[in-house]
Symmetry: C2
Subunit: 372 residues, 2 copies
């Protein structure tokens, strides 16, 4: 056996994530590793917390990055907030709502399902009805931006609804954070998780999370232990605490956190509103181009995500073959359909650093060549 | 708020991990991110599997890297192999044995404890007695190389003992993999986890694991669901399968896996036996130097790890002050004592790329200056 070093090509990443990454972030990642208990690293972790608070628009003290991908961030929210027997309203309008249901079951909770068609947002009326039918539900779980379809749900209305029913919310913002408005405090959201590899344009492998004081109170008043040691946020909090009494929990992924820090510095420097605006502007340009090529969007304009454009594959086109040609000829990655959209749709991402004129132009010209 | 980019200094990492990292590995990490379902990346993941099989000395098909730190790899072994009510013999001779007990409890299992003094290896006789007293134990969990003390246990004897009692083994090799002999197949070990940031000299954040066919059979014949979705290895296996039918589970930490690939290529090129030999030779040199400075080792020579040297802090020395001076003056990190050794011992790591003449010389000269 003699395996050689791996040299990847320079792809343009316009799928559902990971997204294109700024050279500055990749460079930050390769800086010398220092110890995870080094005072300089502890200070950097504190900066990551501050930067994440800004990105999430929250004052929550418990705002950190879980040392694992978004699906672990999701699980962190469910295992910490749910106890066996708890009833949870779970909204399903795509792949990730279904994954939330899986999480509720594995924690021993009971899922009350609110189903909406794939490509539609979560129906606030149906959730209202679910609270009326199940007044003992003390948790509402939903996906803000469904990565499988590109539909945006009204997190503000859902957050307010949950509060009227004295329920906590668990909110998936994996694809929304940094790409569309998200205001954790103003919208009264409680346990919110995201991913590093979407609109933050960082490497995959980290999951930013934030917990409101009400969520922390729920964790602290549990009558049963948290089933995961690695994701037990009461322990993780001790590791991320900035009071100089950091207690060892696990070894942080030092270099990935360098990358997250840098990507958040870039977001800070651009400004959150400007980043949202850029995503919107690039989406409009892509949309015009796609429509003039004859593409139809899966999601209605009213609740379409600018950063994730699901379009139906034109009739008579071998979708896998075209994706493969885009990759091999143009080094351009776009995403396949997922779940019920598999084989029927493409997902074109405009996320973070990749929401650029350059990427829009490449994507439109390459698609034009391949589908005409 | 205006936070600047983070530029770490070049530390020399001689603590318990993360360890010094080769510039080649850091460089690999900063290569352009490609999609986690890109055919080139899938091929690279297959290479990582082959390289890990070599490192673990196993033919186990299920040999992968969990997308999270070693403590998640630990939890992956426990949640997959243990069902509620299962009795597990847990050997405790340091911090990580105690963490194993925590894991057993959180899975709803029952831990039968075999305690040995910190700094001593696990007593094979006591484990034999535990099997005699509890013939219904079908699992044995122990730490091969205790990072908290630097003691090496006899994994070969413990593996054989478990097999005689038809029990499966869960083995922590976080600090042993790549640093001392470890032969998963020959020693009949079943669920074995490690960390990227010790003797593999990769960045922290990944946990190599390997499961024997017997462990897989146990997972497949469970009567209760696996409580973690993220760590459910029956799902993860579909993601790492090399048969072209890769099913999406989570998004792999692409760039961290570039780094692991590169660190394993370096190990392959050096040769496993040569790497073990180098750790031993550098340990001998460090030991001579430390002894002539008057240091005493925590662990007897017979079962002392070459890659983790726990020594008592000399009387009258302010241990935290000296560690801080080593860091600030020499950019040299050594480790504090953990658990019952806190404040009493230092842990000096000679791991992977850091097991070098250069590091030994720096450490001895810097310590000499600071304790004389």
């Amino acid at each position: 056996m003699s395996i050689q070093s791996f040299f990847p090509p320079r792809r343009v990443l316009m799928g559902p994530g990971p997204s294109d990454i700024s050279p500055q972030v990749l460079q930050a990642m390769s800086r010398p590793t220092i110890g995870h208990l080094d005072p300089l690293f502890i200070n950097m972790m504190d900066e990551v917390k501050s930067l994440l608070k800004y990105a999430f628009q929250t004052q929550n003290e418990f705002t950190i990055a879980v040392s694992a991908p978004g699906s672990a961030g999701m699980e962190a929210c469910f295992v910490n907030l749910i106890e066996p027997g708890d009833k949870v309203i779970v909204c399903r309008n795509g792949v990730f709502g279904e994954r939330m249901r899986e999480n509720v079951l594995r924690v021993g909770g009971e899922a009350v399902l609110v189903d909406d068609e794939w490509g539609k947002p979560v129906s606030v009326d149906k959730v209202e009805q679910a609270f009326a039918d199940h007044p003992d539900c003390k948790l509402l779980a939903f996906v803000h931006a469904e990565t499988s379809t590109g539909a945006l749900s009204d997190a503000q209305a859902l957050g307010a609804l949950a509060k009227r029913h004295s329920a906590l919310t668990i909110v998936d913002t994996v694809t929304s954070l940094g790409g569309v408005p998200l205001k954790v405090d103003e919208w009264q959201l409680d346990a919110v998780y995201s991913g590093s590899q979407k609109c933050l344009s960082c490497v995959p492998g980290l999951s930013p999370v934030t917990f409101s004081p009400a969520a922390i109170e729920k964790i602290q008043s549990r009558s049963t232990p948290i089933q995961s040691w690695f994701l037990d946020q009461s322990l993780v909090l001790g590791y991320w605490s900035g009071d100089g009494k950091r207690s060892y929990h696990h070894t942080a992924p030092v270099n990935s956190l360098y990358a997250l820090h840098e990507s958040l510095v870039l977001l800070q420097n651009e400004g959150l509103e400007n980043a949202w605006q850029r995503h919107k502007a690039m989406h409009n340009k892509l949309k015009q181009g796609l429509e003039s090529l004859g593409f139809e969007f899966v999601v209605d304009e009213a609740y379409r995500l600018p950063q994730l454009n699901a379009v139906y594959v034109p009739q008579g086109i071998d979708e896998a073959k075209v994706r493969s040609e885009l990759l091999n000829v143009f080094n351009l990655e776009i995403g396949a359909g997922l779940g019920s959209l598999a084989g029927k749709a493409w997902r074109i991402g405009l996320m973070g650093y990749g929401a650029s004129e350059q990427n829009v132009a490449l994507c439109l010209k390459a698609l034009e060549e391949k589908i005409k």
